[in-house]
């Protein structure tokens, strides 16, 4: 039995209000300014197809920052969920340039500062790992890069279904309480990252309460719009990874630490790997930039022996997925068929090749590829991944026919929608 997401209603996020803020003159003007900034940022790098999609990307960019602005006051914290999410049943998309949205990830934020004392209650759906962090940088908040994380808590990867947790958050240290996160003077957001390895699981439930007295009344509509406008403009500089993904290789060596963040340029139709510090946990990223002819596909082969969790995702120029609810633009472990020898093979192509692990590049002329890997705590455990060009004829298979594919897509759509639902137990939190 599922009910309409109570968590959405119990948070401060009011989607009709968010849409009203999105159309506020200050926000509309800020989006124009951001568009100018992105144009400067990217110069002549923007492909014609990408230029066509720019308005949509900017609209999502604006909405993302409207959502953040709506829930930016630690005096009146709520839980803003489904950030960096494609357009869906709860509202417009909230991604934008350089979002690199992960369809497996449920991102939620709660505003905090160096003064607020909060209590966060969580009920988990199981088979998912969850990290809760305090971050200090608005842009990196959603990426959770380690150098902006000042406090970190995790359930680990073996959370049982229905497990509940209560965390305290505040400026004091509490060494005796493993469920305490200490804020710093520059803290901005509590970031909750829940990895949805099983898309059929209902969303986790979250509730936040402020414990100490508030210091100000809630922001007015105009104040929220002004704040959103500042975010929309000010954060463009932080979207610089989008440019680097399309630029020649950086001068000098030793850019590994930044490579994961910047998606440093890669030769076309090859893969490059680097450590991933997202969520403050050990992992790896594999990145690629494809340019396929009409009859060409890109074949990725992976040895899954040392990997516990992983996914591959195709993106457009703006590092945004295309319709992840209804197209196989990504696959995680549970959506992948693994061979008996422990390897798996993904085929990135515009047309269905009939293989089990097809990743739909969704008509994108130059798709970008991200592979994400959790290496189960093994610092030396880089995934064994190779990528190569092939022809569609080379890989075409009858393993998955059109009917079976349609069944798979229908299941994908239904399971994707589960992230917007909370079961009755969690709804009562």
């Amino acid at each position: 039995m599922t009910v309409v997401t109570e968590t959405q209603r119990s948070s401060t996020v009011d989607y009709p209000q968010a849409l009203a803020v999105l159309n506020h003159p200050a926000v509309v003007a800020a989006q124009r300014n951001a568009q100018m900034r992105f144009s400067v940022l990217l110069g002549s790098d923007v492909t014609e197809a990408a230029r066509v999609r720019m308005d949509c990307a900017l609209r999502e960019w604006s909405f993302r920052h409207v959502l953040l602005a709506l829930n930016s006051d630690p005096n009146h914290p709520g839980v803003t969920r489904n950030l960096l999410c494609a357009p869906g049943p709860v509202g417009p998309g909230s991604r934008g340039p350089a979002a690199a949205d992960d369809p497996d990830l449920d991102l939620a934020v709660i505003p905090v500062d160096g003064n607020a004392r909060l209590r966060l209650s969580m009920s988990h759906s199981g088979s998912s790992d969850c990290t809760v962090q305090i971050t200090t940088n608005l842009a990196q908040t959603l990426a959770g890069h380690a150098d902006t994380v000042v406090a970190h808590w995790t359930t680990g990867t073996s959370t049982s279904r229905g497990q509940t947790f209560t965390l305290s958050i505040g400026p004091e240290a509490d060494a005796d309480n493993a469920n305490h996160l200490q804020s710093t003077v520059d803290s901005r957001y509590v970031l909750i990252r829940t990895r949805r390895t099983d898309w059929m699981a209902p969303a986790s439930g979250y509730r936040v309460e402020r414990i100490n007295a508030t210091t100000a009344a809630p922001l007015t509509h105009d104040q929220i719009a002004a704040l959103a406008a500042r975010y929309i403009v000010d954060q463009v500089g932080n979207a610089y990874p989008i440019r680097r993904f399309h630029q020649p290789t950086a001068h000098g060596a030793g850019t590994e630490a930044w490579g994961a963040r910047l998606f440093n340029a890669i030769d076309v139709n090859t893969l490059a790997a680097s450590p991933d510090d997202a969520a403050g946990k050990l992992g790896h990223l594999v990145r690629g930039r494809l340019r396929l002819g009409p009859d060409e596909v890109f074949v990725v082969t992976m040895d899954t022996t040392d990997a516990t969790l992983w996914s591959f995702t195709a993106y457009d120029f703006w590092l945004m997925t295309c319709d992840p609810a209804n197209r196989c633009v990504s696959r995680n472990r549970s959506q992948t068929r693994i061979s008996d020898d422990g390897t798996c093979t993904y085929v990135f192509s515009a047309y269905d090749p009939g293989v089990p692990n097809w990743i739909d590049i969704a008509g994108i002329d130059e798709p970008l590829v991200l592979g994400r890997f959790d290496m189960a705590g093994d610092p030396a455990g880089a995934p064994a991944v190779t990528g190569t060009i092939a022809t569609l004829a080379d890989v075409r298979s009858t393993e998955v026919d059109a009917v079976q594919r349609q069944v798979e897509l229908t299941k994908r759509s239904e399971s994707y929608a589960m992230r917007f639902l909370v079961d009755s137990h969690r709804a009562s939190m």
Binding site: R37, V185, D186, R230, D234, R244, Q247, A250, H251
Partner: protein, 438 residues
């Protein structure tokens, strides 16, 4: 302020907090912050952050960087790091201090060799003394100020919301400042509430981070104002420990890399040697009362860029040249000129010559041996309109061979002999050193 708030004694130079009777920027807080920052620079964590920032800028710049921009790159990154260490040491609104000489060049005073505090994208106006004071969106503050003869030419106050101090939420124009009966002292209230009759007031927002002050020396003899900050509410947490401050500094050193590189890229976006339109600064981040032109130059050793400027009835303007990373050079060279440092053409316009070699004209902007530089021209104290700064300042120019320079200059251009140049530079150096005299 309320009736319960304390009354603070007037500012008095040489009182123990102000360490000098002639330099209002020489304060106990300033010396303490700089001294701690110098020590903090040696910490492994800060050096790690410094190295990460270096990697970041290197990666962001890609393969577009001219060789000359790498020559002093390590010094540029050292300044960047020191800048954010200073900022971290004065970032807690519970215990705010007044920190001046932000965006400054390396200097010595009070027995300290103080590193520079600029970096990629900082684009400082070398006429200014920049001051930052931490605030937040919930607390009440009182800023005491006092000016001294010779008075500063301009001094806008802003509340900013980001580390780069480029997003403003509240401004106070120097021309609107209401002084006390002595004609020199002033106070500014800072809190989340509207002014409601308070004469000098800055309203904070939930995301406010700093009071950002630009004491603008039109004439380098002018003295920056003296400031003291008072928090009117009790602090809500204990002071940061050294470890907490170092961690904060490391975050700052890394956090601003991408935004500041974006800003540098924005300035360098136009085609080289083409002057784009003048815009209001707030469209790109900065002073809302200012108009600005950003451009890129590419000049060979045997060339010069001749720039003609229209004042737009501005009370002050500044023509600054920056290295490829958008950081200023030696303040004591003619790497910049403002209106009082420049000579006018007969028709009221101004002509500047950008060149690697001294072209023998008074208005030489020395590119400091660099062929690829960035320029920013700032016009302040423009006629005020309902929609912001008015006036119609402009600039255009062209690239010429040095051998053909004279025929491309207006008649009656002021030329200088080597002796005059030496005198000009000696005078500039002497005035520059007033900043750290005490």
């Amino acid at each position: 302020m309320t009736a319960h708030d304390p009354v603070f004694p007037p500012i008095q130079l040489g009182d123990g907090y102000f360490l000098s009777e002639r330099n209002p920027t020489a304060t106990a807080d300033q010396v303490e912050i700089e001294s701690r920052a110098i020590k903090m620079m040696r910490l492994p964590l800060i050096q790690w952050a410094r190295d990460q920032a270096r990697l970041g800028f290197t990666a962001l710049a890609g393969g577009d960087v001219p060789a000359e921009a790498w020559v002093n790159f390590d010094q540029v990154i050292d300044e960047w790091t020191f800048h954010y260490v200073l900022l971290a040491l004065n970032s807690d609104p519970n215990y705010p201090k007044v920190m001046g000489h932000f965006f400054g060049p390396p200097h010595e005073w009070f027995g300290m060799k103080v590193p520079g505090s600029r970096g990629p994208g900082t684009a400082e106006n070398v006429d200014n003394n920049y001051t930052v004071i931490p605030v937040d969106g919930i607390s009440r503050f009182l800023l005491q100020g006092r000016r001294f003869e010779p008075h500063i030419g301009d001094c806008p106050f802003q509340i900013t919301t980001n580390l780069s101090d480029s997003i403003n939420v509240s401004s106070l124009d120097w021309r609107d400042m209401v002084f006390e009966e002595d004609g020199e002292s002033f106070t500014i209230t800072i809190d989340p509430h509207p002014a409601e009759g308070r004469r000098n007031h800055l309203q904070t927002t939930i995301d406010s981070r700093y009071i950002f002050i630009r004491d603008g020396r039109m004439d380098w003899r002018q003295k920056p104002n003296a400031y003291r900050i008072h928090r009117l509410d009790p602090p809500n947490r204990p002071p940061l420990s050294d470890d907490e401050t170092a961690s904060l500094a490391a975050r700052f050193v890394l956090d601003d890399v991408a935004p500041m590189f974006w800003f540098k890229q924005m300035v360098s976006a136009p085609e080289p040697n083409v002057m784009p339109p003048v815009v209001v600064s707030s469209s790109v981040g900065g002073m809302p009362s200012q108009k600005i032109l950003c451009a890129r130059l590419k000049i060979a050793r045997d060339e010069a860029y001749v720039l003609n400027l229209g004042t737009g009835d501005a009370g002050y303007w500044f023509v600054g040249n920056y290295q490829w990373w958008l950081m200023s050079g030696d303040f004591w060279k003619t790497n910049s000129l403002n209106n009082l440092q420049s000579t006018a053409n007969h028709d009221g316009t101004y002509t500047y010559v950008f060149a690697l070699q001294d072209p023998g004209v008074h208005n030489w902007i020395d590119t400091l041996e660099l062929e690829e530089t960035l320029i920013m021209i700032r016009w302040h104290l423009l006629p005020q309109t309902h929609d912001g700064p008015g006036g119609q300042p402009w600039a255009d120019g062209k690239l010429v061979k040095l051998s053909e320079l004279d025929r491309n200059l207006p008649p009656n251009t002021t030329h200088v002999t080597p002796a005059h140049r030496a005198e000009q530079l000696a005078n500039r150096r002497a005035l520059f050193e007033l900043r750290y005299a005490h």
